[in-house]
């Protein structure tokens, strides 16, 4: 596989590059959080090659959905944004993997449906910054949380269980933010 950013390791003391900060997508990412009354700085992690913002949103059905937005640099600037729908139960893995495969086959979008190494369902969109124009980036971003909710509800309606790990760093941060209110 070609090199790619896999972990969310933060390197304290390093700043993200000017290329990332000055990129129009960085501003769009920040605005996405500001529109939801969230200070982007409070949910941002960064190293010298990437910046990531993530937050758990509460759906109208009082369910949780983690949104993450990441930009990073290698040969070019790339982005990865997605909705983390929750962790599956091991006993349901086989059926859920088949469901995700069907979503991938029949979805009329570029979204990708997968399972990460911690058995969490992810709906995501990944690409080179140069491939999308800022308007399209904004459009995909604004549709992703809605689509994440929709898909989470679909899986729950089919009887699958999706939970958020209390020890997950995003959950912890959200709990801290809730406590601070």
């Amino acid at each position: 596989m070609p090199p790619h950013i896999e972990t969310e390791k933060s390197k304290p003391g390093h700043g993200i590059s000017a290329r990332l900060i000055e990129h129009p997508y960085f501003k769009i990412m920040q605005d996405w959080f500001i529109e939801r009354d969230i200070d982007p700085q409070s949910v941002m992690r960064q190293s010298d090659y990437h910046v990531m913002m993530s937050v758990i949103l509460t759906t109208p059905k009082k369910e949780s959905l983690t949104m993450f937005l990441r930009m990073y640099e290698s040969d070019e600037i790339y982005f990865w944004m997605g909705a983390l729908l929750g962790k599956i139960e091991a006993s349901q893995k086989k059926e859920i993997v088949r469901e995700l495969n069907l979503f991938s086959e029949f979805s009329k979008s570029t979204l990708r449906f997968g399972l990460d190494g911690k058995d969490r369902v992810l709906v995501s969109f990944r690409g080179k910054a140069s491939v999308l124009n800022p308007g399209s980036f904004e459009k995909v971003l604004s549709g992703l949380d809605y689509f994440g909710w929709l898909m989470r509800n679909k899986l729950i309606e089919k009887g699958y269980s999706l939970t958020h790990d209390k020890n997950d760093s995003n959950t912890k941060r959200e709990n801290e933010m809730e406590g601070a209110k």
Partner: protein, 177 residues
């Protein structure tokens, strides 16, 4: 997967193929074929929804490109798909797990799935409003590169992927046309 229908089988009054034929993405596809030393016109099929192309590369990948136009708002969607080959029956579950992982971990825009014939496919589907013709061209150029990398990775992990099985879908498509 959508399958093409022959010109003579058209049912709708709206001429989707003609409406989409001037779209800049058609040019991108023609250039992609030309770069491979092939004449795209040979592979072009008019469908009820727009235009489609099928080709098998000398590396054994079966590739399809589709352009779909909406009769209502005339918006155009595109789909480019590479068939990496057929996974074996005993490996299907393992391969589905791998596909779910690839859809999170691979650093490119394409997504993976396995169809009912156990063919492992790598695909990009989106609106032409989201991606420019120039960007589409660069995505097409990368398609084989990423297919090669993924195929080799899977082989190195011990997956048996049968390329000859791609003819199964080819025959199916012929019957549908």
């Amino acid at each position: 997967m959508n399958h093409p229908t022959d010109k003579t089988n058209k049912t709708s009054e709206f001429d989707a193929a003609s409406a989409v034929s001037q779209h800049p993405f058609v040019d991108a596809i023609y250039r992609w074929f030309k770069r491979g030393g092939l004449d795209a016109a040979t592979y072009e099929v008019e469908t009820d929804e727009g235009l489609s192309w099928w080709v098998e590369t000398n590396k054994g990948y079966r590739i399809s490109h589709h352009l779909y136009i909406s009769p209502e708002d005339k918006s155009v969607d595109f789909q480019s798909t590479v068939a990496l080959g057929q996974v074996s029956k005993p490996e299907l579950e393992k391969a589905l797990n791998k596909v779910a992982k690839l859809n999170v971990e691979t650093p490119f825009i394409y997504r993976f799935f396995i169809n009912e014939d156990r063919i492992l496919l790598m695909q990009i589907f989106d609106s032409t409003e989201t991606i420019s013709a120039g960007s589409y061209r660069s995505l097409l150029e990368d398609l084989i590169k990423w297919a090669d990398l993924t195929y080799e990775d899977l082989r190195n992990e011990g997956f048996r992927i049968d390329r000859s099985a791609e003819f199964v879908i080819e025959e199916k498509e012929k019957k549908a046309s």
